[in-house]
């Protein structure tokens, strides 16, 4: 699907917990699949503090109803303001941007790991690979039980595993402390999105154990479509690569953290 910039109406704005909202957009022109890992760059309308657009991973989409959704965690002025818009209001959105995760082979055992707002691309990914394999494990990490969101939906698309830092839900610790990692070699592929230290730790373990691993980076972006060269990540073979167009998905082996 070609990139477009469009004024899209908010179909629903659902508060998921105290600092995270689900924004569903009406996208009547949506005729093709959005790909797992792709993102949308949203203009924060009428803001005096937020000048540039803000990028968010596609969480889910539905071609039949013509809609897609984003999960937005309030971390600053831009995200706080975005979570305040009501159904019916329109926002300028550039989408779809970026490259997709690569798909697993048939019947491979796959582990999707999301931390914080990095859980978003794991929903669209789980749905995109459902026809290829039934061995989809989803591991989500958060600080505490109240920070875990959308669990019923995740349960429907894979075998769900959870960690919390305070032990209030699932296993205690960071995602890499989860018992799944005791037998990490049993997985054929790992896909992850979340804070950089988490992705680096997962990437290192995957490389050590020879499990192919892809990470989805969240570098700060100026444009989101490859022209400002502000979002680069350094890589082993190709030097600086744009996270917005060469990524956001990279093979964990490529990234120089």
């Amino acid at each position: 699907m070609n990139k477009t910039v469009q004024e899209l109406a908010i179909k629903e704005n659902v508060q998921l917990n105290e600092d995270t909202n689900l924004l569903i957009f009406e996208a009547p022109d949506l005729k093709e699949d959005l790909l797992p890992g792709q993102f949308a760059n949203v203009l924060v309308k009428d803001s005096t503090t937020t000048f540039l657009r803000r990028p968010f991973s596609i969480y889910d989409f539905d071609k039949k109803t013509g809609s897609f959704s984003l999960i937005i965690k309030k971390v600053g002025d831009g995200t706080r303001k975005l979570c305040q818009f009501n159904a019916g209001e329109k926002l300028s959105v550039i989408y779809p941007l970026g490259k997709s995760f690569s798909l697993p082979n048939r019947d491979e055992k796959v582990l999707l790991i999301g931390g914080g707002s990095g859980i978003a691309p794991m929903m669209i990914m789980a749905k995109a690979i459902a026809h290829l394999t039934s061995e989809i494990h989803i591991l989500l990490g958060a600080r505490a039980a109240k920070d875990h969101i959308e669990l019923e939906k995740f349960e429907k698309v894979g075998k769900l595993h959870l960690t919390t830092e305070d032990g209030s839900l699932g296993e205690k610790g960071f995602v890499i402390h989860h018992s799944l990692f005791n037998d990490i070699k049993s997985f054929d592929r790992i896909y992850t999105c979340g804070p950089n230290p988490m992705m680096k730790a997962i990437g290192d373990i995957a490389i050590e154990n020879d499990v192919p691993c892809e990470v989805s980076l969240e570098n700060m972006m100026g444009c989101g479509f490859g022209v400002c060269l502000c979002c680069v990540t350094d890589t082993h073979d190709k030097g600086h690569q744009c996270v917005c167009t060469d990524g956001p998905v990279f093979n964990a082996k490529e990234v120089k953290w």
Binding site: K3, L52, C223, D234
Partner: protein, 303 residues
């Protein structure tokens, strides 16, 4: 029908709206969004003789009504541009300028000689004003002798239109403009970014890997307008104005201050269709004010 055509040296632009270097890639990145043929012209990413990796991440910081960047001229070098990129854009019905940068006069000369062989290129925009690399142009652009030396040297080897892009990080921009005109520039474009800085108070660290970077966007517009006005009063060559232009009204303000054409930079990040909207907006302004020729706006500030 209103006349939007303007001339920069002997290059005719179908309208006075160009794009600013480093904010428009090589043009084709925008082909999903706009019809490139509608632009007066576009200036491609800063190009150097040898490939450059640019500065380390983070290279960007958002600031009130603008942004700082410290990209540091990441590009694949002039040979790669000529061989692999130019063929993809040469057939666009618009004028292509190459933003050329260097760290020595010799680099500029060799780069210009290579570009002189490229058929169909409208011209060079000589970048003597990049604040983001050591000796990366700005060293030349902030003194009259420095600016004069590099423009003279390039003029000797380059036959097509030579536009020279000035830095705002100087005490007297008119003086530099006169030196550049005297050295053979066909046109002057300004402003490049203003040297700035951003700090993360919580971490007690600079946000940019390079500590300082170049400020662009609406925050710089009043400074840019003032400088365009000063330079317009100091030289005869056509001026291409930029700095914080977000819409047609902003563009018209620059034309009134004396710019023959304008460039849009940071605005492309906010709205990738902005260039075409500005062309349409200028037309609408002219119709509303019963102006049939764009030249009646250029320098038309009523004092």
């Amino acid at each position: 029908m209103v006349n939007l055509k303007v001339k920069i040296n002997d290059i005719e632009l179908k309208n006075p709206v160009l794009t600013a270097s480093g904010t428009f890639g090589y043009g084709y990145e925008f082909s999903d969004f706009i019809d490139l043929n509608r632009l007066g012209g576009f200036v491609v990413k800063g190009t150097t003789l040898h490939p450059r990796q640019g500065n380390a991440y983070p290279r960007m910081a958002e600031t009130p009504s603008g942004m700082l960047n410290a990209v540091g001229l990441q590009n694949k070098g002039v040979d790669y541009f000529i061989e692999h990129i130019y063929p993809k854009i040469k057939d666009v019905d618009s004028k292509v300028f190459v933003n050329l940068s260097g760290s020595t006069v010799e680099d500029y000369i060799i780069g210009a000689e290579k570009l002189n062989e490229v058929k169909g290129l409208a011209g060079i925009e000589l970048n003597i004003s990049c604040p983001n690399v050591k000796e990366g142009g700005m060293a030349f652009g902030v003194t009259c002798p420095g600016a004069e030396a590099v423009v003279k040297a390039v003029r000797e080897v380059y036959d097509s239109t030579l536009m020279v892009k000035l830095s705002p990080n100087v005490t007297d921009v008119a003086e530099i403009a006169r030196a550049v005109e005297g050295a053979g520039a066909d046109s002057i474009s300004l402003i490049n970014t203003l040297l700035g800085m951003a700090v993360d108070a919580e971490k007690r660290k600079p946000i940019l890997s390079t500590v300082t970077g170049g400020l662009s966007g609406p925050a710089v517009k009043p400074v840019a307008l003032r400088m365009v006005w000063q330079v317009a009063n100091a030289v005869k060559v056509p001026i291409v104005g930029m700095g914080g232009i977000m819409n047609a009204t902003d563009a018209i303000e620059f034309l009134l201050a004396g710019a023959t054409a304008v460039q849009l930079g940071t605005a492309n990040f906010i709205d990738p269709e902005v260039t075409v909207k500005v062309v349409e907006g200028i037309e609408e302004y002219m119709n509303r004010h019963n102006i049939s020729d764009i030249h009646d706006i250029i320098g038309g500030l009523q004092l």
